[in-house]
Symmetry: C2
Subunit: 342 residues, 2 copies
Amino acid sequence: MSLTRVSLTPPYLLYIGDVAEADNAKTGFGLAHWRPELCAGQMRLPDCGVDLGLRDMSVRDAIDAGIRTAIIGVAPLGGQIPDHWRPQLIELASAGIDIASGMHSKLRSMPDLVAAARKGGAVLTDVRVPPDNLPIGQGRPRSGKRVLTIGTDCAVGKKYSALVLHRELERRGIKATFRATGQTGIMIAGEGIPIDAVVADFIAGAAESLSPDNDDDHWDVIEGQGSLLNPSYSGVTLGLLHGSQPDALVLCHDVTRTETLGVFGDYPIPELDVVIDDALRLARRTRPGCFFAGVSVNTSTMTDFERDGYLGKLQDHLGIPCVDPVAIGMSPVASFLLKHAS
Amino acid sequence: MSLTRVSLTPPYLLYIGDVAEADNAKTGFGLAHWRPELCAGQMRLPDCGVDLGLRDMSVRDAIDAGIRTAIIGVAPLGGQIPDHWRPQLIELASAGIDIASGMHSKLRSMPDLVAAARKGGAVLTDVRVPPDNLPIGQGRPRSGKRVLTIGTDCAVGKKYSALVLHRELERRGIKATFRATGQTGIMIAGEGIPIDAVVADFIAGAAESLSPDNDDDHWDVIEGQGSLLNPSYSGVTLGLLHGSQPDALVLCHDVTRTETLGVFGDYPIPELDVVIDDALRLARRTRPGCFFAGVSVNTSTMTDFERDGYLGKLQDHLGIPCVDPVAIGMSPVASFLLKHAS
């Protein structure tokens, strides 16, 4: 089974166009945070509402700085590249700078960009292309251990939490692999399967392929996608859940999020104990002993005092570690996971 | 929004190769049953374990009988066309007989078949191709009424039950449209969206597009796909459920089915009241008032006496109409549906 492997040449320029909200620049933030040594600059259009904290570059600056790859650092809902971004992308490609994208709309389907890349000698890489010949899900139990992050919504820290948990397991000398399921995770890890780009019949099969049989003491830390609660993406989430057969789940949440993003606007997020119960009912279909190893909450809008109070109360209520992955890290979750996994 | 529209020229020859089990010849049985006036024959390989009850034809017979389209009447799990079927398909296409397929593997991706069709002047139609430019699900409530069939598994009568219910509503003078989501349904109805062939991120959006705003007293009768209980296809099912926003559900079941098909083999089907409760928990995320209008059970292995006892007991227990769609029809379900829909 081959994963989608990406090979991008640094240094990177992160292109974020005129994206308005940080939630839609997850790829940019993810790369800037997890691969800072590879990211040399950002490129923005005048009305951009986001700052990755990197040096702003023009096309000229990028050439002078020796940028090798411009990565589209934006993942808007629906995954289309806006037309008004093309002129800059064409300029970059014409100058021989490779372009990489994780959007649904393909760089290689834009004739003007393809022509510019050919002229400039640039490589166009579409990361959101699933492997060929994915199997249908089999439902067969696999050796090795798995933990999957799931979220109360999209963009609540599922990838981030998985990466922090993976790093924590490795720090403890545990055999562990981060399994990327989205474009940013794939760019960070260098491989994975863009699970939301798979043909629907093959979601579970893709998830099974992503975390194959392994050593009994090896952990796959699987990046979650979408949310069972978000009516736009719940199918992806359930397919990934059933195919992953996780021994354990980590619930990711953003304390400011009261409704799911990007939809009609009347989908409130239930109490977290309800979310947990509902997810376990579904997860235990393919992994009867599945349990929650913790809750990972983005509490960045809170003071330290507020955060301690909120997480302490939540932990008392749920009986599992509740952390902020940035402020606290995932060590309590890793300890709980390793203690309770059979 | 354009659906996938198919235009096939009768009379049809239903090609079922050497398929072993009737469950895998759903397309053939569906067309033979619902469009008998269009189906003139069947073509089988020597080891075929299925009989559609049509005249067996060789390629020569098909030509003599004036067959215009050979439809691959098989939908094996995974949807691939076996290599050893190709010689007959090539012979048919060479003779100018159109070929239609609802499999994932595309007729148009087989160079030898494409060449034969060009030589013979035959048209190759791949039904399982979703429309371009599907939107992401929005979650917006839509006008009009919807009923969706869901199953305890694949191949338990979701399409059949929906077609019978649709016919019953029309018989009563109710405005109703059958909404096809699979290859057989699309071939029967002439249009629809092959929901399991959609890219995963767009499942809910496809379901929303399939049943758009309509008159307040119009019913969309939506063909279900997969099963929340079948770990290979549950993602498709949940996306279709959340995108359809059904006012009502009809549970389809096969009384002989104790485990889900085609997978590892250790996924027992729970009691139906548990299945109903779990489905409603999920359905009410996008349609708070969703209710079950009935249970449609394939009891073809039972005597009349056994069936009456089984359905009577089930109906007492669940408090909703429980029918066999062949032996009894869907009239009690239609009555319950119309009475309880707000």
